[in-house]
């Protein structure tokens, strides 16, 4: 509020007799000094970021508050007005077996996908980092998957997983003797595996690219000192490299956790949540509710999802930021 008030303070001698009589506005927002160069500068800087703040408040935060309101109201297709509904939307969702299975699927998905991406991505980065020729050859190729829209990737892999003739099945039947072709989308477990494979395929490059940059930034002297001491590779990695890349590692893990928990286009394109409702993800479940004309329940679910994501990750982020500012002060 103070911020907006200040930005209103006009230039010197804005109106006739501006300084002679004390206007109501001036009494509400007393001006300590005539606005000098510095004040005007601060005002300009605030004017610069105010529009963005307003836009994010208006189109980002306000809808969120509105959603909170919606989540406590009855909102059904053929009822014209929206009477209050207490916490019934929330209790309905929490008791819905599909919600529980979607939540469990999402949690398992994240728990498998993120570690797998981290291990493969970091491993690749470690291998390629000191081999410039290989790096120049493979880096542009490994970059490709994350550039393509997830929905395109989903339909691309839907072709790969066709039964009996998809490319994945061709490879399987080539590697495994006998009739080993799998109807990937036919059972809950294999359908879930396809989603995991696609997510790893598309986003491991993300981990790879960033970890490669993180590794490149580790001072060479550090590693050489360890090598002179005759330390084994694993010891060097654990005692020198890993501590040096921990900040980067944390950022990557957080970003991957957030984005993989929101997985949706692959479910939409590859499994359609099926067979049955077995591969519903959280976002897919919420989308279905909204599309079936139940925004109240959908909003309630979205808030449960938001809290489950934002609270733990918010704490981690705050911890990082605090540590960073502490370090800055020390320097």
């Amino acid at each position: 509020m103070r911020l907006i008030g200040k930005s209103h303070s006009g230039p010197v001698g804005a109106g006739p007799g501006g300084t002679a009589t004390v206007s109501l506005r001036r009494r509400l927002w007393p001006r300590r000094r005539e606005p000098g160069v510095e004040q005007r500068d601060t005002r300009d800087l605030r004017l610069m970021f105010l529009p963005a703040v307003l836009v994010v408040l208006g189109f980002g935060i306000f809808p969120l508050i509105y959603a909170l309101w919606v989540s406590f109201h009855l909102w059904e297709p053929f009822i014209p007005d929206h009477p209050g509904n207490g916490v019934k939307n929330y209790t309905e969702v929490l008791n819905d077996p599909i919600f529980r299975s979607a939540a469990a699927r999402t949690a398992i998905f994240v728990a498998i996908v993120v570690p797998a991406q981290m291990v493969i991505g970091l491993g690749l980065a470690l291998v390629v980092e000191s081999r410039m020729r290989l790096q120049r050859l493979f880096f542009p190729i490994y970059l490709l998957p994350m550039l393509i829209a997830p929905i395109v990737v989903g339909y691309m892999w839907l072709q790969m997983f066709q039964f009996p003739a998809g490319i994945v099945n061709e490879i399987v039947s080539f590697l495994v003797p006998g009739d080993a072709r799998v109807n990937w989308l036919g059972s809950a477990e294999t359908a879930f595996i396809t989603l995991i494979i696609v997510e790893i395929w598309q986003w491991t490059p993300f981990v790879f690219v960033i970890m490669l940059a993180g590794l490149t930034a580790v001072p060479v002297q550090l590693r050489e000192a360890a090598a002179v001491d005759g330390a084994r590779w694993w010891v060097t990695f654990r005692t020198v490299i890993l501590p040096a890349i921990t900040p980067v590692l944390t950022v990557v893990v957080i970003l991957r956790l957030l984005e993989s928990a929101n997985f949706f286009p692959t479910v939409f394109s590859i499994t359609q949540g099926g067979p049955g409702t077995s591969t519903y993800s959280m976002v897919f479940y919420i989308t279905k509710l909204a599309q079936f004309g139940r925004p109240g329940v959908a909003a309630a679910t979205a808030f449960i999802f938001l809290l489950a994501l934002a609270i733990p990750i918010g704490f981690v982020l705050m911890g990082i930021l605090k540590r960073q500012t502490a370090e800055k002060k020390r320097i």
Binding site: A52, V56, L64, L124, V251, P265
Partner: protein
């Protein structure tokens, strides 16, 4: 130090590494090559056993069929227009805000973190109220109905990215310009912005790619060819249990090509863009 045996062992190990890396590269490329083949081949050969990668009857029929389908090529145009408008708007808003925050002496950091924290919110929590509100204003199935939420989502990203670039510029240059009588605005336009042109372009490309690829919001807001975006049109190539694989692949190619080309241009800025500037790269 290196004995003959050690050298052989190193050679074997390097060969092994090369093989593994090549296999992974193949895993990356195979689906894309397959798509190109399907986009060109006649329907009868989609799922031959053994697979035919490139048919001898390859032709451009599927690309022609796209135009008679749903919004056809209009969907690509819709995506392009919406992405350009929303990108420009969030670049203007976000860049100005980033500069203000980077140079403000007090509380600049607090507001920056507030912008960053928007990133934690799952898009699905936003899409439901945004859909209801936009339906209330009657902007469902319009460009502006898409552009507004895209601006709201991408402005924080631009703020955070550009702030990183501005913080790297030594303030001495600006201070000398200001003692010469320049105000903040002219400093921003004449002195600072020319210094961050690469950062501006890279950030803009990132935002553009995000909007071009976005699916969830498009799914809620668009309905007809008036606004349907490319990402939302793609699923409509599946009709009940029948999938028009050729048309779908052809359309996928059209969607992927611009992004792949842009991606090559901003390779250098990738790390920074992907981590919101947390890792400088």
């Amino acid at each position: 130090m290196v004995t003959g045996g050690g050298r052989t062992r190193k050679l074997v190990r390097d060969a092994g590494i090369f093989l593994v890396l090549s296999a992974l590269a193949a895993a990356v490329i195979i689906p894309m090559v397959w798509i190109v083949g399907v986009a060109l081949k006649p329907p009868g050969e989609y799922f031959d056993i053994p697979p035919v990668w490139f048919s001898s009857d390859s032709n451009l029929q599927h690309f022609r069929n796209i135009s008679g389908f749903n919004a056809g090529y209009r969907a690509l145009l819709n995506s392009f227009i919406v992405a350009i408008c929303a990108t420009s708007a969030s670049m203007v808003l976000g860049t100005a805000a980033a500069y203000g925050l980077a140079r403000l002496r007090r509380r600049g950091d607090v507001w920056s973190i507030w912008f960053l924290s928007q990133r934690i919110l799952p898009p699905v929590a936003l899409v439901i109220p945004v859909f209801l509100l936009i339906r209330e204003i009657g902007w469902i199935d319009t460009y502006q109905g898409l552009i507004l939420p895209y601006i709201a989502i991408n402005t924080p990203f631009v703020v955070w990215m550009m702030r990183g670039y501005f913080l790297e510029i030594p303030t001495a240059i600006e201070e000398s310009a200001m003692t010469d009588g320049c105000g903040r605005w002219s400093v921003l336009f004449r002195v600072v912005l020319p210094l961050v042109v690469p950062g501006l372009l890279a950030t803009g490309v990132f935002v553009w790619i995000y909007i071009w690829s976005e699916f969830l919001i498009g799914l809620f807001i668009t309905q007809t060819s008036a606004s349907i975006t490319a990402a939302v049109q793609l699923p409509s190539f599946t009709i009940a249990n029948d999938v028009l694989w050729g048309e779908m692949s052809a359309f996928s190619l059209l969607m992927a090509t611009p992004v792949l080309i842009l991606g090559l241009f901003i390779q250098r800025y990738f790390v920074r863009g992907l981590t919101l500037g947390a890792v400088k790269g």
